[in-house]
Amino acid sequence: MMRRTAPTTLVFLLLPIVSLLAQDPVPPVEQGVRIGITYTPGLRPGLMVLGGPRADVMDSIRAILRRDLDHSDRFEMITLPTGDSIVLGISSGSADGVMRADGDLFVNYSLHAALGAEYAVAVLPTSDPLETVVAVYDVRGETERRRFSIIGTQPGDERLRMSVHRAADEIVRVVTGEPGFAASRILFISNGRLFRVDADGARREMVSGPGITTFSPAWDPTGTTAVYTELYDGWGRIVVHDVAAGTRRVVPATEQLLNYTAAVAPDGATVAFSRSSEEGTDIYRYNLARDCCLERLTVGRFSDNLSPTFSPDGRQIAFVTTRVGGQQIYVMSADGTGQELFAPFDYGVTGNSNAPEWSPDGLQVAFHRDVMGSPQIFLMDVRSRVVRQLTSYGRNEDPTWAADARHLAFISSRTGRRQVWIIDVESGRVRQLTTVGDARLPAWSPRIQEPMQP
């Protein structure tokens, strides 16, 4: 279907430009050497988001895709300079892709391969003005791999954005076998109010009602319902708030005393939370599905037990306890039996450890631990129970997993105010997500499957 193009002379014409694109220092290109210089085999595959027909909505989709795919940290993103030289060099009216009469893109595989791309992504119009298509091409195989349909014409439309994010996640799946996390949102608390923001930092919106002080948010497994504490009249009650539908209900067992750090089980049926009273702080669980059956899982007496997090199979709960003096990470069965130390520590030496969150693949638990008076993000490998430190500069706390079990959002004060940052635990690459006001207690949603209401 696609014809091989890009005569070698054209490739050599591009040599000096391409060498400028290299991200790492490279030796001068010699005659006859291949130009696949930005891609290192065995590491991340090179990916290009192609230009193409211009329109507001398609430009917007390209920008969202490019950012999502970059933030997935799975690709070496290959970008072309915006100057005219390459355009003139190709002399086809488009930098890297040419529309054919039948609406398909004329993909210049050899050129993209020469630029180091293993995959190329194009945004194309369809005969339906409301529909746009995202196509992903295997450059080496010179084939189109998948197409995804994007519905919507308004670049700022929430449904359009989410469907582009889902397409980006599927492109990640095409390449790596596992989807990305772009179609997700992060809850956080700012000045006592609950906010949500898309995983790319767009669409920051207040979720809680005005005048209500909120605390310790979490998501249910659908990613559409926020579960959090409302502080009122000295009590803290747990609210289940379907953000899309705009409905909310109070968990009946939490109408008195101080109930917080809710965590919904992976099957959505039960919610675990901590309750503070004169008797101390203990973990309880309540059956949301049957709307009954409050159970107490820990009996603290002289210690506190809080911040439960379910393993993805729902069988275990990791939590914080002070039964050993300071705060440390323990684990128990979801029914409260078999409580034991989880993250190893040296008594009197290892700092307080808090805010555990089990990764969606079940392999790791993220938490923060005091190091020289400042919390830092740590990971524990569940199988070996080996702990490693991820951050070291400023306060870094309250980690929360992305759906890909590879990225963490956390709160950092490294630039002054507490903001949401994101780290790729594989590469260590860090970026700042929020910039306005302050932010605390983030909670990252699973992938959002259903289209959101506008």
């Binding site: 605390f215 310790s216 000295g234 004169e278 605390r440």
Partner: protein, 206 residues
């Protein structure tokens, strides 16, 4: 005729005389009683004055009593406010600790104990707070322990448990802004609020 004229003339004179001093004889007779009337009027006047005096005195007494009542009320309110201020005096904690520190803080709690013993209707709530350094979620639990520690100090010394409620605000409600030891020291605290029986408060020993 002459006699007739005389008589007529005489009658005329009498009539004139009568006309001139006509009321005189009648007035003379009451004039005799006027002293008594004056006396009686004076008595009435005295009675009236006495009555007015008594009314005035009663009013003055009433005013005095009212002023005294108001003064007493003002003093009671002032005392209640003073006692409430004593009740509201905060205690503070070491970092990540919920133990009551002997010294100033036990003195502060002792004065609250005395007040609660002197005012059986008084009920209070204790709110535990933390500084910003600990973990946000853990601080909720720590604040609850701080509030409970103060409550138990009072209960151990005879205050009925039902008169003291506790809650925690964690680090959500700082009174001192800033990320320094001075702010942290102020923010690690228990606050004490009157929840009932705070209108009339007696100072201990009064």
């Amino acid at each position: 005729m002459k006699l007739k004229f005389f008589l007529i003339g005489g009658m005329a004179v009498m009539m004139v005389a009568a006309a001139c001093g006509g009321g005189q004889p009648e007035e003379v007779a009451p004039a005799v009683d006027s002293a008594a009337i004056r006396d009686s009027l004076a008595r009435l006047e005295a009675q009236r004055r006495a009555y007015e005096d008594s009314v005035r005195r009663a009013r003055e007494e009433e005013d005095r009593l009212r002023r005294e009542r108001e003064e007493a009320e003002r003093r009671a309110l002032a005392m209640a406010a003073e006692v409430r201020n004593m009740v509201a005096t905060r205690i503070h904690f070491d970092f990540d600790k919920s133990e009551i520190r002997p010294g100033t803080d036990t003195d502060v709690l002792q004065s609250k104990l005395d007040i609660m013993q002197a005012n059986p209707a008084l009920r209070i709530e204790i709110v535990g707070h933390c500084d910003e350094r600990g973990s946000d979620e853990y601080n909720m639990a720590l604040g609850m322990r701080r509030a409970t520690a103060a409550k138990m100090w009072l209960v151990d010394r005879g205050i009925a448990e039902g008169r003291v409620t506790v809650r925690s605000m964690g680090e959500e409600s700082p009174i001192a802004m800033g990320s320094n030891e001075e702010a942290w020291t102020q923010n690690r605290r228990d606050e004490f609020n009157v929840t009932a029986g705070g209108d009339r408060l007696t100072k201990p020993g009064m």
